[in-house]
């Protein structure tokens, strides 16, 4: 029973973070039609900025908010410098087919990931460093026994829930959010209706950058920080997004919790070595049974 509770709690807390990562992926996929494989590279970069600020004597919260802002700025910058020129490029023969138009941004994002990781190595050296948590990481004591649930877990889950609520309100209730949903639905029509689609694209990169930076800040206290530590988080976040449906923000959150719980139960009941195989299994099962994800839309093909 203790193992079960421990797996459940740690899965929920981790799942909340994976939900954020998946949400970041979904926002850029809807807003710009790109799966951003550099996302956790951006998060790694802004977490390093926070870490440097905190090591130089600033408070945790200064580092925290600077990192969120840096994540958003970096996301917007990458869109303007790399992805926008790519999507506005004249159609050459190479880019005329649908399959290559989908493949080229993926390759570009891998290039961005490489650049960010190399830069982080050059600036901050490659060895792992710790990252502080704003709340205690010891379990609560209830009736004399230590529970597998820490105040840091409470912090993580509540801050993720607040972020998710705010994102939902932003997309549903504000004019900009409406414009972004319209762009995601049909870019041509959105542009014809007077929406500045370049702006909404860049905005989705910025929001996604901030969300993934938040994920980076929340996950590094338990996993340490190095240029490559967040690669695995991206893989897990991608799986979460596909499980829930790449088109659906609500699906991303659902997928995050599902994948978090699967990983946690596999780690506690089998062994940590089986985590990747189980992620692969979950991914393949979803892709075979419901290729568009649990909450994803319908697939359609146009001639």
């Amino acid at each position: 029973m203790d193992t079960f509770l421990a797996a459940l709690f740690s899965g929920t807390s981790r799942g909340a973070i994976y939900a954020l990562v998946a949400l970041g992926l979904v926002i850029v996929w809807r807003g710009a039609g790109v799966v951003n494989f550099a996302q956790m590279g951006q998060a790694m970069f802004s977490t390093y900025i926070a870490s440097t600020l905190i090591q130089n004597g600033n408070s945790y919260w200064v580092g925290f908010f600077v990192a969120l802002f840096a994540g958003a700025a970096l996301g917007a910058l990458l869109d303007v410098l790399v992805m926008r020129p790519l999507s506005n490029k004249k159609k050459t023969e190479l880019l005329s087919s649908e399959s290559m138009r989908a493949a080229i941004p993926v390759i570009a994002s891998l290039g961005i990931l490489g650049v960010l990781q190399a830069l982080a190595g050059i600036i901050w050296a490659a060895e792992e460093r710790g990252f502080p948590a704003p709340a205690a990481q010891e379990g609560f004591t209830v009736a004399g026994s230590v529970m597998p649930f820490t105040s840091f877990d409470v912090f993580v889950i509540s801050i993720v829930l607040i972020t998710l609520t705010m994102t939902t309100i932003f997309f549903k209730k504000t004019g900009v959010g409406l414009a972004m949903r319209a762009t995601a639905l049909n870019q041509e029509v959105a542009r014809l209706s007077g929406i500045r689609t370049n702006f909404t694209r860049t905005l989705s990169w910025a929001i996604s950058g901030a969300a993934s930076s938040l994920a980076g800040l929340l996950i590094t206290p338990t996993s340490n920080l190095s240029p490559n530590t967040l690669d695995l988080v991206l893989i897990i976040g991608f799986t979460a997004a596909v499980v829930g449906g790449l088109d659906s923000p609500a699906g991303a959150v659902l997928g995050g919790f599902i994948v978090g719980l699967v990983i946690s139960f596999v780690t506690f009941y089998l062994s940590p070595e089986d985590v990747f195989i189980s992620i692969l299994a979950v991914l393949l099962i979803v892709l075979i049974v419901k290729p568009r994800g649990i909450l994803g839309g319908k697939d359609s093909r146009r001639v």
């Binding site: 996929w29 790109v34 799966v35 494989f37 790399v82 020129p85 790519l86 490029k89 159609k91 050459t92 023969e93 190479l94 880019l95 005329s96 087919s97 649908e98 399959s99 290559m100 989908a102 493949a103 080229i104 993926v106 390759i107 570009a108 891998l110 290039g111 961005i112 990931l113 490489g114 650049v115 990781q117 190399a118 830069l119 190595g121 050059i122 050296a125 490659a126 690669d231 695995l232 893989i235 991608f238 799986t239 596909v242 790449l246 070595e273 089986d274 990747f276 195989i277 992620i279 692969l280 991914l283 393949l284 892709l287 075979i288 290729p291 093909r301 146009r302 001639v303």
Partner: protein
């Protein structure tokens, strides 16, 4: 089945075979001529170029020709490497039989992967193959008794047979590495060249350009995508087997970065051409040496110089994609439109 088809369609058109054959002969002569002038270190590097070249050809066929992106070719290389290493260490089979046999193992893995992948496209395929690239090497630690975990299975190219030494004299170990790899690279080149020029190659390009249009023209694209995966896996498996023969087959030899290196080489050189695949491979393999040559003139800390090759090659990748996505060898493609 598909390979028979490839051969037969090329056989109808002898000029295709002749063209591929001329390319291959030229390739062999050029490599031997250049290799004989190199120092042992650069001969070993040239052997790595030939090995990567075979792997990059698998990306060219898969992504450049049929439009499917894979970030998991390194995992298929691992399958080829482990097949060869297990045959050589457990059954003491000669590498000249074990390496071709690894093709079978990689082909079967490619077929399984292809059946799953034929339903996916674009980013879904990229992400799934990335998860595969991560998950497959962990199997080595799951079945310790067979795959020996992180320690891996040591294998190498051994020594040349006596008829070779009596004919050509005693080669250095690096030279022998090069001579072992060259015939496989030449066969891979010949096969890839035939494939690209043949009817099958054109069919795969039609799938890349428009699946639905290809289907309307009578191409069963789901089945063809699986065939593409099998062929590409065979190339990757062959490359992986030869890569392992440099000394060790283990999880650390086939990291995710290997898959990304292959993709980088293919894109830099030109994702649609065999010549581009070779140029890109040369760039990727020799870039760290060239950078070292330049950096020697500056006083840089190890921290900076260690990450320079990764930084430069990633920057080159972004610049290629944004400025000239057709790559070094692909400039002429623009003229068509």
């Amino acid at each position: 089945m598909e390979r028979i088809h490839v051969v037969s369609s090329a056989a109808k058109n002898p000029s295709i075979i002749r063209r591929s054959f001329r390319r291959t002969i030229f390739f062999i002569i050029a490599i031997l001529a250049i290799g004989s002038t190199f120092e042992p270190y650069n001969q070993a590097q040239l052997a790595v170029v030939l090995i990567y070249f075979i792997g990059v050809l698998s990306v060219t066929i898969l992504t450049g020709i049929s439009g499917q992106i894979s970030l998991g070719q390194g995992a298929l290389m691992a399958v080829g490497g482990y097949t060869t290493a297990l045959l050589m260490t457990n059954y003491s089979i000669s590498l000249w039989i074990a390496v071709p046999a690894s093709i079978v193992g990689a082909g079967i893995a490619g077929a399984l992967l292809g059946i799953a992948a034929a339903r996916l496209s674009g980013p879904y395929l990229a992400g799934t193959t990335l998860v595969i690239a991560l998950a497959i090497p962990t199997i080595a630690n799951r079945f310790m008794s067979v795959f020996k975990g992180d320690e891996g299975l040591p294998v190498d190219v051994g020594y040349p047979p006596s008829w070779f030494t009596s004919l050509f004299g005693e080669p250095t170990y690096e030279e022998w590495q090069l001579y072992v790899v060259l015939p496989f690279a030449a066969i891979a080149l010949f096969f890839a060249s035939n494939l690209l020029l043949s009817r099958t190659g054109r069919m795969w390009k039609s799938i890349r350009d428009h699946e639905t249009a290809a289907a309307l023209a009578g191409v069963n694209y789901s089945r063809q995508k699986i065939y593409v995966f099998i062929i590409a896996s065979i190339f990757a498996g062959l490359a992986g087997a030869l890569y392992g023969l440099r000394g060790l087959v283990g999880p650390s030899v086939y990291p995710v970065a290997l898959s990304l290196t292959l993709l980088t080489a293919a894109v830099l050189g030109g994702i649609r051409s065999i010549f581009g695949a070779f140029i890109g491979t040369v760039i990727v393999v020799f870039l760290p040496d060239w950078i070292d040559l330049v950096l020697d003139n500056f006083e840089l800390s190890e921290q900076v110089s260690n990450f320079m090759p990764a930084l430069i090659s990633s920057l080159l990748l972004i610049l290629t994609v944004v400025i000239n996505p057709a790559g070094v060898a692909g400039g002429h493609h623009h003229k068509h439109k």
